[in-house]
Symmetry: C2
Subunit: 192 residues, 2 copies
DNA sequence: TTTATGAATCGACAGATGTTTATTACTAAT
DNA sequence: ATTAGTAATAAACATCTGTCGATTCATAAA
């Protein structure tokens, strides 16, 4: 406990990269069959054909692994769509759509609020994207761009999560449009 | 596992209420001394002078207890301030201030995103308050009041959480004002 | 007051967690 | 090719988890 996770990057040793990739893949496979809470570290290690002690060499617990995996996969999904920041509102809608899609295809769908470390780990990723966009946009001085990015990221996630939990969902594209309308004032000001 | 938490209300048996209160108090006391993750169910039961099996009679795990405790305490804090919904913007600022204060005086301050079931459990409470306020306000037809409430609640929480994690914080009142400016368009529309 | 209900206790259980120590095996240098 | 560094393995550990069955005790009713 209280042990820090070594950064996902900064390593060239192929053994480390291989182990982490195998652990993430193993978790992804297990999540298809059963709930995250019902998966033990032993099972993950077995599925990855690694020793259990090796797991703890890389992640302090299974939550850390899940968070790392979620971050990697969401970044992949976003990068695959190659969002451009030429149009700010379009970028916001694209990101919102990405979050909706990610939640929809995300393995494991916890109804309980307490059990959502998996999904929630995409918030910092979204936050970084907003910050990057605001930097290009060139915000007025005095307004806290980082704060706006944080607030918008949480707002988008909360809205997308609600959509995801709704039984008869509207299409993700439609939801993304709604999110854009609600959240754009947070990022771009009440005007416009 | 997969066992549902019996609702916090709906019981009149004084034994049940007493046990749950003692468990919450015990957890609150232990959280002063150590991290949530380092507290075992046995310790909680000991501090509450209850048997460990009694704990599992009321909560499926310690996360559920923490969430219940958080909800109760936040509601208390808000009710103590007796927020009126006569002025919508004022109500939003008051709620934002309540969330900031709650986080600040909240026991346990997890830096890790994965470890925040404790604090996050106030989001549904805030959401309900927004919904109640919007119902009084009388929203235009076609707009989804519940969705706006959810989005705003997550936005407020995310902003307040960021403020709470900042080393040299500005006063909570000042932060609440910033939050109001950012989030009010989500609830009341971009106009105004 | 007696009684039926069910809350609380106790002991025990298999399995999981996170850590440690010692050993082996691989990698990236010289 | 040798070697220093370190990742991976293995076995063992104390502790924690969630559950169970049997028993005792408190409460609200008759």
């Amino acid at each position: 406990m209280a042990q820090l996770l070594q950064p996902e990057t900064g390593t060239t040793d192929p053994r480390i990269l291989r182990s982490r990739r195998m652990l993430m893949d193993a978790l992804a496979i297990l999540l298809i069959k059963k709930e995250f809470e019902d998966i033990s570290v032993q099972e993950i290690a077995d599925e990855a054909t690694l020793n259990r002690a090796t797991f703890y060499l890389h992640y302090p617990d299974k939550n850390a692994l899940l968070q790392a995996m979620t971050g990697v996969r969401f970044r992949d999904l976003i990068e695959r769509r190659a969002i451009t920041f030429t149009d700010c509102h379009g970028a916001l809608r694209s990101i919102a759509l990405g979050v909706c899609d990610y939640l929809a295809e995300s393995t494991g769908c916890p109804t309980q609020l307490a059990r959502m470390p998996p999904q929630i780990s995409i918030i910092p990723v979204v936050e970084d994207m907003f910050k990057e966009g605001l930097a290009l946009h060139g915000t007025a001085p005095g307004v806290d761009a980082a704060l706006m990015a944080t607030t918008a990221a949480w707002a988008v996630f909360g809205a997308a999560r609600r959509w995801f939990q709704t039984p008869n969902r509207i299409p993700a594209e439609e939801m993304a449009a709604k999110i854009e309308i609600m959240v754009s004032p947070v990022l771009f000001g009440a005007s416009q």
